[in-house]
């Protein structure tokens, strides 16, 4: 039992953190909004060059074979920076589930995906609107009964707007030449759901941390009654409540990541747990951060909403809080003898 990160894991986290601090500042995100092009090709190219996008591909496919815990630590930073490119919940997800895909789909993906330079989108009932299709080489469509791959040129699609302008969502209006597989997708589906759940959980915890950091700075700066508003207990307590939520959500993310990398049979439960805790932390972070910012928090000008909007989307996608509660309850009520005080690990 050694529940701490290795130096290497911390290095990966720090490296992506400083990269994003440089390359993904609020101004650059807003620039994407203005140009209706939130997928920043320059940044994407740099992420490829750094090897980030192929982190979790096996070494024989040019990746680092990175396990889930390091991945989650990096994704947390992507949340913190509000990274618009869908690295976590699309690229990392797709990389990770390639081994679970039917053979013909894998082949199709890989032929469109050489050297990880291309972006493949994925749609699933838990996140049905594919992201950035105009930047994608193709789309994996997955539900309970089928799995398809459609190359970009074989489909027509239209953009649908998201409440988070950093997320360009699409709807496929027609397709042809789809490569189809229809067999039993239970295993694939659970692999995809668990990873989507974990990735959004890790993003959310980063987003929550960002919001509370922004708020802490703001309440130090803003004065009323002759003092920084952060000296008032009502304000302190709001932010402290968020800090508590974040503190107890984080280890759930790391445990869920660890479970996935160890193929723990309870990993679906652990991912649901992580998402539940992170969604709650992020929800309170949104509410109390906007409140701490006062009317400024309700403006377009303040950067807070860049992260708040992403958090709202991440809460909704890949199973919201209620969905996770349902998953947890189903597990608890069917196998109660293996849960509780002795079965955390």
């Amino acid at each position: 039992m050694n529940f701490i990160f290795t130096e290497e894991q911390i290095q990966f986290k720090d490296a992506i953190k400083s990269f994003l601090a440089e390359e993904c500042a609020p101004a650059s995100i807003r620039d994407g909004w203005q140009k209706n092009q939130s997928f920043n090709l320059e940044r994407w190219k740099n992420l490829i060059e750094l090897g980030v996008l192929s982190s979790n591909l096996p070494e024989e496919k040019g990746g680092l074979g990175m396990e889930q815990v390091t991945l989650a630590l990096m994704v947390e930073e992507m949340g913190y920076a509000g990274l618009p490119e869908p690295v976590a919940e699309q690229t990392f997800l797709v990389n990770d589930v390639i081994p679970f895909l039917p053979q013909n789909i894998t082949e199709a993906v890989e032929s469109n995906y050489n050297d990880a330079a291309q972006y493949i989108a994925l749609a699933h009932p838990l996140a049905p609107n594919p992201l950035f299709l105009n930047n994608a080489a193709g789309l994996i469509l997955l539900d309970n009964s089928e799995c398809k791959f459609i190359a970009k040129d074989d489909m027509d699609f239209e953009i649908i707007s998201s409440n988070d302008p950093s997320r360009e969502l699409f709807k496929v209006s027609s397709m042809k030449n789809a490569i189809c597989a229809s067999e039993n997708f239970d295993e694939l589906n659970s692999a995809v759901s668990a990873r989507g759940t974990l990735m959004t959980a890790a993003l959310l915890i980063g987003l929550a941390q960002k919001m509370i950091d922004l708020s802490s700075v703001y309440v130090l700066d803003r004065t009323q009654f002759g003092k920084p508003i952060g000296s008032f207990q009502a304000v302190k307590h709001m932010l402290a409540d968020v800090a508590v939520k974040i503190e107890f959500a984080k280890p759930a993310v790391y445990r869920a990541a660890y479970s996935l990398s160890e193929n723990n049979p309870k990993s679906a439960l652990h991912c649901a747990h992580a998402k539940l805790m992170c969604a709650q932390a992020a929800e309170l972070a949104c509410k109390n951060s906007i409140q701490a910012h006062g009317a400024m928090g309700y403006t377009w000008e303040m950067d807070l909403h860049i992260y708040m909007r992403k958090a709202w989307s991440m809460m909704a996608c890949w199973g919201n809080e209620d969905k996770q509660q349902e998953i947890i309850f189903k597990t608890l009520s069917s196998t109660s003898e293996e849960l509780g005080v002795l079965y955390t690990f």
């Binding site: 039992m1 402290a240 800090a243 508590v244 002795l342």
Partner: protein
């Protein structure tokens, strides 16, 4: 990162389990807040000590097993699973014990730790005073050094276990000209000294879990000073850290309550509103998170880290969780949630726990004080 138990840890778990299975009293002890129950619990402390289980993390020289924090957490998991009696000496073994280990002289350690382990000294806390609650630096009880003893005058209150305990530890003002947290000293006081009057205070459940202690020219030998004269505040903060954090509030207690709550819900599901289900899930999810967080912290400490203001985060989390779980249990119990005698579903036990869960957000520093600490020390907000 490797978050599985090792073989050695599993073997240790089995050893704890086997011992507890044959030693935990078959019928529950009386409440430790009654005279008779207190002595039963003292007896249990003796039994634990005979098995060498008083405090597994203490060095062997002081009656412990020299084990690490992970093994401590495993011990606690088994302890709660076995529904073993509440530790009547928790003020001693979980709070004063680690404090002595850090600040005590060799003589103090051998005298007090051993007597603590054997159950001969059951400890009470002596922090609060009528004018010093959340504002603990407002302490006014004085201890004036006269030759080789301190003469203590004043009053302590909300002193947990003091109704029947043998000793108390607390903060006293040794520098009469000092203010606030300066000039305080950490002194260990036997409660049977002349000049001491203990007045038990019945708690919400009707039993005297805490007491007032009056000091009238009480003479305490100088050797009972822990750390240096005037260093009391620093030492008390370390003790408070143990109280808020992982020693006293190990996760097993809350996980055990969450499991019981799930059991209670599953047995009564048909009579419950569907809204309850989400609370039951919350109970599991939060107690699980608390456990993960504590193992994370314990691992950090084993790697040489230390725990500071972070313990305030945990204190808020477990105390709110404990209350939420008991509140949920009472909702499941429906109309029987007012029965204080033995009945179906252990209603009386839940009600007792429910009332006690109101104490959590108050003791060990109110949650409001903890939030100030978090805001000021972790988020960098101004005082």
């Amino acid at each position: 990162m490797k978050i599985n138990f090792t073989n050695e840890q599993n073997i240790f778990r089995d050893e704890v389990r086997t011992w507890l299975e044959s030693n935990v009293p078959k019928t529950p002890l009386l409440s430790l807040d009654t005279k008779e129950g207190f002595e039963q619990h003292r007896e249990w402390e003796r039994t634990l000590n005979e098995g060498n289980w008083s405090m597994v993390t203490w060095p062997k020289d002081y009656g412990g097993r020299g084990l690490d924090l992970i093994q401590w957490l495993i011990f606690e998991e088994e302890y709660y699973r076995a529904e073993a009696p509440t530790r009547v000496n928790q003020n001693g073994v979980f709070l004063l014990g680690p404090t002595l280990m850090e600040f005590g002289t060799h003589e103090q350690k051998s005298k007090f730790l051993n007597a603590m382990a054997t159950g001969d000294h059951i400890w009470a806390q002596g922090w609060s005073e009528p004018g010093a609650g959340s504002d603990m630096a407002a302490i006014r009880t004085t201890a004036v050094l006269e030759g080789d003893y301190y003469k203590i005058n004043g009053q302590k209150t909300w002193s947990s276990r003091a109704a029947y305990a043998d000793w108390t530890f607390g903060l006293f003002r040794t520098d009469l000209d000092s203010e606030r947290h300066r000039g305080l000293s950490f002194i260990l006081v036997p409660l049977d000294l002349p000049g001491i009057t203990v007045r038990p205070i019945p708690q919400l459940d009707g039993e005297p879990g805490f007491a007032e202690i009056y000091f009238d020219d009480v003479k305490v030998p100088l050797e009972n000073l822990l750390g240096g004269d005037g260093e009391g505040w620093k030492i008390a903060m370390a003790t408070a850290g143990f109280e808020r954090g992982l020693m006293l509030r190990s996760p097993a207690r809350f996980q055990q309550t969450a499991s019981k709550l799930l059991e209670l819900y599953l047995a009564n599901q048909d009579d419950c509103s569907p809204m309850i289900q989400a609370k039951v899930v919350e109970a599991w999810a939060q107690s699980e998170s608390y456990a993960l967080s504590i193992y994370h912290t314990a691992s950090k400490m084993l790697a040489g880290g230390s725990i500071g203001s972070e313990s305030s985060l945990g204190k808020i989390f477990w105390s709110e969780l404990d209350h939420m779980m008991h509140q949920t249990a009472l909702k499941i119990l429906g109309a029987s949630a007012e029965l204080s005698q033995e009945s179906k579903n252990d209603a009386a036990k839940w009600i007792k726990g429910f009332m006690f869960s109101y104490a959590g957000p108050i003791y060990a520093g109110t949650n409001e004080i903890q939030k100030n600490i978090i805001a000021e020390r972790l988020l960098g907000l101004p005082r």
